[in-house]
Amino acid sequence: MRVVVAMSGGVDSSVAASLLVEAGHDVIGLSMQLYDQREGQPGGPESFGSCCSLDDLQDARRVATTLGIPHYIVNFEEAFDRVVVRNFVGEYAAGRTPIPCVHCNADLKFAHLVERAAGLDAAAVATGHYARVALAEDRRTYRLLRGADPDKDQSYFLFPLTQDQLAHALFPVGMLTKPAVRAHAERLGLSVAHKPDSHEICFVPDGRTGDFVERHLEQPPADGEIVDSAGRVLGRHAGLHRYTVGQRKGLGLSAPAPLYVLKLEPADSRLVVGSRDELGRATFSASSVNWIAGRRPPEPRRVTARIRHRHADAPATVIAEPPSGATVTFDTPQLAVTPGQAVVFYDGDEVLGGGWID
């Protein structure tokens, strides 16, 4: 069948493409041009130099050439700005800590890219995610499973996928470990075999999230008070978008014991800080919850819940609240439950669903 593979220029999607070619599919590589790489770079429009993301697109082109598949770079700048960047900035402005990758997956790759793929008569869209899709016993429902490599599992970032999206999603490297993926790339002589993993947010390559948000805010960020949980003023901050729950560094406060960000209160532009003991939370609510099977559980559901990508999921009980909310109660309080991050529910290796922490 004809498969469109989203090629980022990294080793995972490169190997995903090669596995599809080896399986005999008619593979088309698409790479998404997502943002203007010159933004925020010193020197102005006349300067030029190396540019990581352009290099990534060229890496994807090289891999496609090695694999002998057609490859195109599609311009998704407008859609990326609309569904990812503006949401990212808006979330920070609202005192939340967003995960742009989730929107990029659900609202760009498995939405706009799928649309493009349909126009090219493709039957499926593949990515280099470490996750797996399997048919349930009823032979109709698709299940989303963790990637086989526990260190690399990316199922957390895929929780909003619908049954229809999963029906046409392929994650060829999901059953492999990262070392196996690199070994495969090396065997094929792919130039990206030893390319380092990407970590930071791709459109903020310098990692200065606060600066990026400020450049994109329509109004200058509001400053405000830093208070403790009893309301005592301890200092001032220059904008809530520079903080996230659980943050310890960069508060500019001196205290006998370390202070952590407990809460962002955008309505009053207030930052609440406190001790590590105060950071734990057992019960919280989530919204825009997606249940992968397409229906919410009628009864309270025992799960393990993950509240950020690098959080070891912990036992919890979820009560689905119509229409699309949920109340999550951990068996033991977890540190830094952060509004804007996702909570994802697992049963063993299976992703049951997930939502956004309120």
């Binding site: 069948m1 004809r2 770079i73 126009g119 090219l120 029906a167 046409h168």
Partner: protein, 388 residues
């Protein structure tokens, strides 16, 4: 079978050009600046090219400065004139919004040096009205630049009328004729311009060669400083084999243009009308009369041109949209935007550009697949082809 309908991006090198370039690389081994016999042979070969090119554009061979293509010629024309005119204190220039990036970005560069610019309005068919230029001229206008034929829509501007207005005003007039030279008869005398840029690879010559025609007596400031090549107007050892190829392509164009142009126009018109008749929701962009004979630019309602381009390429058919950004992905056409077309139209339009080797059979094939591809792309949001 692969079908190439992107001659405005680059035209395949003519067989006689390839043969001449290859021969030159083996036989014409000297540096044209050298005193010895080898050097003299190279110099003679360049002179022959200069003469052939001059004949193609009705110029004097001494007025031609060879460059590494159209972009360099445009840069030399604008920057060279700006530097030469600096002493006059006139620092205003006029351009259109449909110019090639070689012009647009050079204008921007001049603006960063203190020049100001005015963008001439265009009518909906992409043509500049002479009155618009008359209105835009200011006492400090030093330079006017209007392209001869547009690369995306093929529209031909009334350059002779515009140049006459500029001349009466005492402003220099440059035209980027990269898309017209070799496709239609071009006479620098009839156009009445001061400088004219051209590029070999748009009419069967090698990439990386071109020329700027500079009216005799006009002094520009060299932008590539170096040796005394090109009478000091462009330093650097000439690309002798490439320029020999340019000369051959110019000679072929001069011989064949009168026959090729009407044949291409008839093919293009047939193709264009067939698409309009068989694919609903299509429209031609730009003036259908004042146009180079090989180009048609068609809007396809309700789809992304980028997708149609890819779908055609997967069928072995090479076409193009407006401009590609540095990654090679496509941007909404600045030309269609400058004509006042809505941004959706600028994103759904494709350029088909024919060449001397294009056949009726090829165009029938393309016209045959378009309805199916377009229909498929228009059913957006539907599920993918089949289940996994």
């Amino acid at each position: 079978m692969r079908i190439y309908l992107d001659h405005n991006a680059t035209a395949p090198v003519l067989p006689e050009v390839a043969a001449a370039v290859s021969r030159a690389m083996q036989e014409t081994i000297g540096n044209a600046s050298s005193v010895h016999t080898f050097g003299q042979q190279a110099k003679t070969a360049l002179d022959r090219t200069r003469t052939a090119l001059a004949a193609l554009i009705d110029a004097d061979p001494a007025e031609i400065v060879f460059t590494a293509g159209g972009t360099e010629a445009d840069n030399l024309a604008l920057r060279g004139a700006a530097d030469a005119l600096a002493a006059t204190g006139r620092t205003h220039l006029i351009a259109t919004g449909i110019e090639h990036e070689a012009i647009l970005n050079t204008v921007k560069a001049l603006e960063r040096r203190g020049w100001t610019s005015t963008s001439l309005p265009l009518d909906a068919s992409g043509v500049v009205r002479p009155e618009a230029l008359a209105e835009a001229l200011r006492p400090d206008t030093a330079l006017v630049t209007v392209m001869h034929a547009n690369n995306e829509i093929g529209t031909i501007q009334p350059v002779a009328d515009l140049a006459a207005i500029a001349r009466r005003h005492g402003a220099l007039f440059h035209t980027d004729a990269v898309q017209s030279v070799g496709k239609i008869p071009v006479s620098v005398r009839a156009l009445g311009v001061d400088t004219l840029a051209l590029s070999a690879h748009k009419f069967g010559g090698p990439q990386g060669t071109g020329a700027l025609w500079i009216r005799r007596g006009l002094r520009l400031v060299a932008q590539l400083t170096g040796g005394r090549q090109e009478r000091g107007r462009r330093g650097g050892t000439e690309n002798v084999p490439g320029l020999i190829g340019l000369g051959v392509a110019a000679a072929v164009a001069a011989d064949t243009l009168a026959a090729t142009a009407p044949r291409l126009a008839a093919l293009r018109d047939w193709f264009e009308q067939t698409v309009l008749d068989t694919v609903p929701g299509t429209a031609v962009n730009g003036d259908r009369a004042a146009r180079v004979p090989n180009t048609t630019n068609i809007g396809f309602e309700g789809l992304e041109a980028e997708s149609l381009l890819i779908a055609l390429d997967l069928e072995g058919i090479a076409v193009s949209t407006g401009s590609a950004c540095s990654s090679g992905s496509l941007e909404p056409s600045h030309v269609l935007r400058a004509m006042g077309l809505p941004s959706a139209r600028a994103r759904n339009s494709l350029r088909f550009s024919l060449g001397p080797t294009t056949t009726r059979e090829e165009l029938e094939l393309v016209a045959g697949v378009l309805p199916r591809l377009v229909a498929r792309l228009r059913t957006l949001g539907r599920p993918l082809a089949t289940a996994r």
